[in-house]
């Protein structure tokens, strides 16, 4: 946003002469964008009623990466001239770039005004292809070609359709070495997650026109996504240095590449883990553990080994991670993303504590790495996302996001999409929560397939998708039913699973508000809280977020000093995937007090997948492992605690020394206890330990 404002601010202070639209156009062609802006502005001021000028200025802004300003000008042009097809088309392009389905209506308006406006057909074809509606994409492209047989985007779309289906394409020759055509193909391949193929076509684009800076930029972005930073930097820098005010993706990608020096890389024969140096020591044991664990599960399940080491990049700054997803559809609020066998994701420190289960995010993304590779990237979006959501809780049932109130509302309002159309819910959402709803729906579809046809059916389907077969054919062949019948049965399953919640949603919403009010009121009847809370849990057992009934009930149990009741409640909360740190710590404390330290450990271990940067958590876990004589686990926990630089330096090093001593590693114990004493020379327990490990003790 800042660069944009800086660019626009240049307008102020430059005297506006009697410049004409021709001068503005000439300056634009000469790449003198600042002067062109001034000239356009002057031309508009001199001709305030001229819709065409506004359209041209809008097109200029759109090309120069200012879509908001462009949209504003197109709308102004339409106010002056409601029959301006170019203005509608301009708006359609702005919307399409943002994956906003309103683009279709705007393109249709342009066509209504000017039926020969073939570019509008091209845009519709592109959007259909983004939705993986290949038939419609071909039809729209044909409509464009019927008007102009040389329509480049239409040709590129046909070529892409062939490439996506692994066919030799006669359309490629018709591109006639036009760089823009290759660039369009590459961008559509990216949308379809065919990143390696996209590299080929971006490379062709820059070879055909070495001054096509947008293609250089996207080539760089794609190289960066595929974990090739040095090559990426060269391309991005080239685009940045030559394209004057280049787009956000170029600028931010370069900035991100500049931060790579702050990362540390840990490699094994099968994994590459990149962590920010400031948190590497604390996160490494947990990330490496999940990577190895998931690989062993997926290798068995998918009967497949990744051909190259899997790379995971963990970004403590969410904005850095977001740069990796710029220009991709359905990425609002995204936590992780997979490009072939490179995974980029938020670090647990990238979001407020407790809001992000990094373990299930990594597990989810790793499923993509396997499935995308196994199918050679020929898998529809709904299936790879659905399978990854299914996997989140398939191995660890208390992982995975539960059905949220937004999803319940969508089910109630009958907004789930048929399996044949679900992809568009990810790419061109028609309501704000549709992307989230589509993840849920796709995940549930995979759950349903696994439960009805067996887990192995999902792998069979993946192999079928690898043959580049469309969803409807795979459903028919593998599930032996028509897609419509599948939708009907699936809906019945959803009704069975959450029908009670959907039906009683209003009652539950009101009830939960009342329960929270009751819980906060001094002197409330704990038995009433317990009975009302449990009734609400029965209506919506998956609700474990803020103000949930489980925690209210557990607190009421504790208020009446019924620890067994509280433990029972916390157990149900944990099973339903509840992960509030205070609640889980309370649960662990109760378990420990009840003589169940192993169970207490297990409950706290869950939090390591949510907030591994919580010093208190590691201190508690370390103490429990010492109690249960699991010295290696205690060493891990206390070592992480030390890596987090806690306030109590001496105490944390002393605890680590004790764990090393328990593990029989006296030298390490001595080293740590000396560090503890260096911070607090008079620390008596540490002094005693030093004497012991030095052979001077009693």
């Amino acid at each position: 946003m800042k660069p944009r404002l800086a660019f626009l601010s240049l307008l102020i202070g430059i005297p506006l002469g009697a410049q004409t639209i021709q001068q503005a156009e000439a300056l634009w062609r000469a790449h003198d964008y600042v002067s062109a802006t001034t000239a356009f502005d002057a031309a508009l001021k001199a001709n305030p009623k001229n819709a065409e000028y506004r359209v041209r200025f809008g097109q200029f802004f759109f090309e120069r990466y200012y879509p908001d300003e462009a949209a504003k000008l197109f709308k102004e042009a339409l106010e002056l001239d409601p029959k301006n097809a170019q203005a509608y088309y301009g708006l359609a392009r702005v919307y399409a770039e943002d994956f906003n389905p309103e683009a279709i209506a705007a393109a249709d308006k342009a066509l209504e005004i000017n039926p020969k406006f073939y570019q509008a057909y091209e845009l519709k074809a592109r959007m259909a292809l983004e939705d993986d509606d290949r038939k419609k994409a071909a039809t729209e492209a044909d409509a464009a070609l019927a008007i102009d047989p040389t329509a480049l985007d239409a040709i590129a779309i046909h070529a892409t359709l062939d490439l996506l289906e692994d066919k030799e394409s006669p359309w490629l020759a018709k591109i006639n070495n036009r760089a823009k055509g290759y660039e369009t193909i590459a961008s559509l391949l990216v949308i379809n997650r065919r990143y390696e193929d996209a590299l080929v076509y971006y490379s062709k684009a820059v070879a055909a026109d070495p001054e096509l800076w947008t293609a250089h930029s996207q080539l760089g972005v794609t190289l960066m996504r595929l974990g090739r930073p040095d090559e990426a930097y060269k391309e991005l820098e080239l685009a940045y240095n030559n394209d004057h005010t280049s787009d956000a993706a170029t600028r931010n990608s370069l900035k991100l590449l500049d931060t790579y020096k702050d990362f540390e890389t840990f490699t094994t024969s099968t994994t590459i883990l990149k962590l920010n140096k400031k948190e590497a020591d604390a996160l490494r044991p947990y990330f490496e553990h999940v990577m190895q664990w998931a690989m062993s599960v997926y290798e068995k399940k998918y009967q497949f080994k990744l051909p190259r080491p899997l790379q995971v990049e963990v970004y403590p700054n969410h904005e850095d991670f977001a740069v990796r997803t710029l220009g991709l559809p359905g990425v609002g609020g995204i936590l992780g993303v997979t490009f072939d066998d490179v995974i980029a994701m938020d670090s647990p420190s990238g979001r407020p504590p407790g809001q992000f289960h990094w373990g299930e995010t990594l597990w989810h993304e790793m499923s993509h790495a396997y499935i995308l590779t196994l199918t050679n990237y020929r898998v529809p979006r709904w299936f790879t996302e659905g399978l990854a959501v299914h996997e989140e809780s398939a191995t660890t049932p208390d992982w995975g996001d539960r059905v949220t109130p937004e999803i319940i509302s969508a089910i109630r309002d009958k907004k789930l999409l048929p399996v044949a159309e679900i992809d568009r819910g990810f790419v061109h959402p028609t309501f704000p929560t549709q992307v989230i709803v589509s993840y849920y729906e796709a995940g549930k579809m995979c759950d349903y397939i696994a439960s009805r046809w067996g887990e192995s059916k999902l792998l069979d389907m993946a192999h079928e998708f690898a043959k580049n077969r469309p969803t409807v054919d795979v459903i028919r062949d593998q599930l032996k039913m028509e897609p419509e019948a599948f939708d009907k049965d699936f809906q019945a399953e959803i009704d069975k699973e959450v029908g009670k919640t959907v039906t009683n949603f209003k009652e539950w919403t009101t009830g939960l508000g009342e329960l929270n009010k009751l819980s906060r009121a001094p002197g409330s009847d704990n038995n009433e809280i317990i009975s009302k809370g449990r009734a609400l849990e029965a209506l919506y057992p998956d609700y474990v977020e803020a103000g949930n009934a489980y925690v209210a009930v557990a607190k009421a149990c504790l208020a009446k000093e019924d620890k067994a009741c509280a433990m029972d409640e916390y157990a149900r909360y944990s099973k339903a995937s509840g992960r509030d740190a205070d609640a889980i710590k309370q649960y662990a404390k109760l378990l420990d007090e009840a003589g169940k330290p192993k169970e207490a450990e297990a409950s706290l271990e869950r939090l390591n997948f949510v907030n591994p940067l919580d010093t208190d958590l590691h201190e508690k876990l370390g103490a429990l492992y010492m109690k249960t004589k699991d010295a290696p686990a205690a060493v891990r926990e206390y070592a992480v605690l030390v890596a987090l630089h806690p306030i109590d330096v001496a105490g944390s090093h002393y605890n680590l020394a004790k764990a090393y001593q328990a593990e029989g590693r006296k030298d390490k114990a001595r080293e740590e206890v000396l560090t503890a004493l260096e911070a607090a020379p008079e620390y008596r327990p540490a002094q005693k330990l030093l004497l012991e490990v030095s052979g001077e003790g009693n």
Partner: protein, 292 residues
Amino acid sequence: MKKALLMLALASPSFATTFFVTVAGLGGEPDYEQRFSMLAADTDKLLRGAGGGDRVVETLKGADATKARLTASLNRIAAQAKPQDVLVLMMIGHGTFDGTEYKFNLPGPDISGTELAGLLNKIPATRQLVVDMTSASGGATAALKRENRTVITATKSGTEKNATVFARYWVEALRDPAADVDKSGVVTALEAFHYAQTKTAAFYTEQKRLATEHPQLEDTQHASAFPLVRYGDAATTVTDPAKRDLVAKKEQIENQIDALKYQKDLLAPEDYKKQISALLLELAKTQEAIEK
């Protein structure tokens, strides 16, 4: 830190008294009222429960926390306290700053920084600690600053006007043995400040919020001389006359350790490690002998 405390303990007459006054100001809304009162009540409990010499603990909260009651309380201490005594004033709540004057919000009339300083100046206790944990508390520093008075504020200036979280962590420091970083068995004002300062900064970082408070400490040197709470048998060992020689030896080793730490950057890492290890082992043995 321990050494400084020890010297002060040896230098101070045994009948020195520490006066603790904790005030929870006006909340303005139920949530804050409850939070401030709870923090004050916790502080009261922790101070009363903590060992370590004569201490007088007074807490004003809720409707009792008026300007008149606070004035009366400080005047009473002014009448009782002697120069060797210690005063610790802790203020929890909201504050305001109009550009020139800070005010601590209390039920009824507020009290200004200048008025507060006037009351504190009348108290003969030479060593004074003021912990102002309110919003805009940085605006009070100029008025409260004086020789031998350590001033801690939750905010850097009077312009940091948002409600603060510093008080929460200050009280936590009094409760959490981890705040005792030198493991001397005593949490000093300096340790409590560092604890609360670190936790306050972490709070804003973790919540991805712009920090609206930057705790300040005027007079770092003397802050370590204010013991707030004590754990276990701290101070009992060092005052045992039968172990005088060993205590002297121990102090000598501690001085050597301090000196060596100052030279750390000048020494080769291996040399430093060897020397510090030897001294720490010797210190541990000496302590063992003291306790025999």
